[in-house]
Assembly symmetry: D3
Homo-oligomer: 165 residues x 6
């Protein structure tokens, strides 16, 4: 399959947080951000793979800064890595606080694994990710995706061994 560049499937979703999205203390629910992240990642996975794709795993998601009602939240998603039938999509979440100057706040980073599916719902091959040789950031993202993959497998292995022993 023809490798596809990262830029061809990049996607940003942006919306304002409302009362509906918050708990009684005015903090936006983690689950609301997760939902937005999965929406953005789903667009990227469909675009990169040229068809249907489903979430197989959310590998890790950290909430660095609380998000508030009224913040304009952006979920920037892109494909970091692709194997035979699965892809890692990275999502960076930023929040703009309208009454504050300067850069948006970086609030969360997430890594999701998507699997391409064919008509019958079986896994199908997805295109490799084309990272330019001189795209240092893209190269680093690809490498880190492989580290996460290794650690995910190691963690599962450690837990299985702890159950046996």
């Amino acid at each position: 399959m023809e490798p596809r560049p990262v830029a061809a499937s990049r996607c940003t979703l942006s919306r304002i947080m409302t009362l509906l999205d918050a708990n009684l203390h005015g903090n936006i629910h983690g689950g609301v951000i997760m939902k937005l992240v999965d929406d953005a990642a789903g667009v990227v996975a469909a675009r990169h793979s040229g068809g249907r794709a489903v979430t197989a795993a959310m590998d890790e998601m950290v909430f660095l800064v609380p998000v508030h009602i009224g913040d304009l939240v952006h979920a920037h998603a892109q494909v970091n890595w692709a194997g035979r039938t699965s892809m890692e999509i990275g999502v960076r979440v930023d929040a703009e606080r309208w009454d504050e100057v300067g850069e948006p706040l970086h609030t969360s980073t997430a890594y999701l694994v998507y699997v391409g599916l064919d008509e019958d719902g079986s896994p199908r091959a997805v295109p490799p990710v084309l990272v330019d040789e001189d795209d240092a950031l893209g190269q680093r993202r690809f490498r880190e995706a492989e580290i996460r993959r290794t650690h995910r497998l190691a963690r599962r292995d450690a837990i299985l061994r702890s159950r046996e022993g």
Copy 2:
């Protein structure tokens, strides 16, 4: 602080998946399940810590079986482990397909880290988790939460080192 038993904060949320929750192929969005999982975990974190708590990380979430429109989905949440100000909440997601007999399908497992907050939004101490000596499952969950914690720190460390070198 007085340790609190796991059973005192356990919580199950249950709802039926609708058209609204699905993509055009009839698969329920991963983000919808993540949102339900965070809702259930948030109840447990508030109950165990006796107050306000926010999502600090979603450590890992695997989607084993696709969920469909019409499924009755249960998110069973409980505290697995607690440190000084943070708690790991485990959530098991099951789906009942009304026209199928037998056990509900186990569709996802997630581990979330919550942090207790005081009035000013600063971290506050949370009670230890009381696991009975003869509660084998509870003991295993506590042990595995520590493995996940170790691997989470190792993974971050490996990524930081890869950036430096």
Copy 3:
């Protein structure tokens, strides 16, 4: 048709009440609880009858205790009685207030009549309800469903007679 036990179609839906569900005084709307009750009863009716079923009547619904924002509300539904094409589903609504110890509050009880429908939307036969001889509670529910049925018919009759006379 083969009688089916009550346990085979029992269902509980559980969710947390939010700002969205309340009036400006913080009381959860009766209509929100009615909707949750109908959702739970609809699952039971579909399961017991093994197919499509629609609400024919909500026989009576009492609101004993106000429900608040933040309460975890459970709608426990089960079939009480079945005739040839209709079923009475009983629903008990409980609310857990996270900062209160002890049993959930019993907030409402409702009795709904569902009718099984075939492909063309015409009534179809539904299985009888199997109540064990030594299940005193199930026996009582069956008996009370018949009393409600009698009173429902009597009330309609009294109103028709009052219009004539």
Copy 4:
């Protein structure tokens, strides 16, 4: 307290039924209609009593005709009867099917009991309903509300006696 005429608190809510409101067979959920009925009745109760009021009971609700996606549904609500602190609100639900000529379909009738509340959430007195001597329909509604009240008390009594005996 000054009696208030029925017309002073009458209210109609009207909306179009969507995919969101329906089950997979295209029938609008009973619970959606119940919610709309409670919304309309709540406006009437607040207007007639001149303040805060909550649903105490939904006395009976019959679904005569199935409602479909695309129907324009009207909930016409008015006060039928008032006691010292409670009111019966009657709601008639009609559906207009845009591609059918003629009168709207009468799909449901419901009777709800509301109780007026003061600042502390305790019952407060509500005004009597003023029905003109020559308003035959209003007179009949008042009389039938009393019949329903009698039968409601009788039904509860019969059930309590069946439990004792």
Copy 5:
């Protein structure tokens, strides 16, 4: 095609404004009212044209009075004018404030252009509007719709000329 009277397609939608519909100052979003206006106008366009129709333009919408949480808002829509394939629908928005006596407040007026579509999504002919000779208000609305049409064309023309010169 047979002309159709205005009354045959008139429609009112009515709902109560909630927290969800408001900004943090308690003012209902203009966009919420626009959405309600388009919903009501869409019903009228479908009825008048006897089939599928889509919004081609919202010609002007003025917000005279702020709408508040708790207001009962009515969108009264009717066809003012029809050309070969397009129709102008006028919508008047009124708000009832439950604790105020007197007439509803007139909060907005909008004029929308709809186009009838056939199965393939191409424009199709729509019936003329029948306005009675002695219906002064209907005659005025028809005449004003033509003025708005003229000004709409003139405005586009002026802008195109300003771009050229």
Copy 6:
């Protein structure tokens, strides 16, 4: 007051259109796009004016291309012009169809008038718009906003005169 550059308050909201946003033919409701447009314009108005602002009018909105379920829709909003207390915000709506290559489709353009409000809800002064001398597009937008303003006043005048005469 210090003039503020257009770039300081620019805002884009982006979301995917779902079943919920469409009619039964799969076309996205005009009202859904209007709501998104008002959301984006509201952010710009609040940013440019440095505080609270409400929609006073939606001057014109044209729907050039139908929007479909699954489209990623962007609302790009910016301030075009400002008077003493009011601002014109222009919004361009684009749709990306995930399975089509090339530029996003330009689907709508809208012009909204917002008014700045103080604490008491009275109009307050807003900053002038700073357009660079060599920003040809910004200059044109400013000029066209004045044309729209002139035509809006002329149209209202023509209608008032037609009512008198």
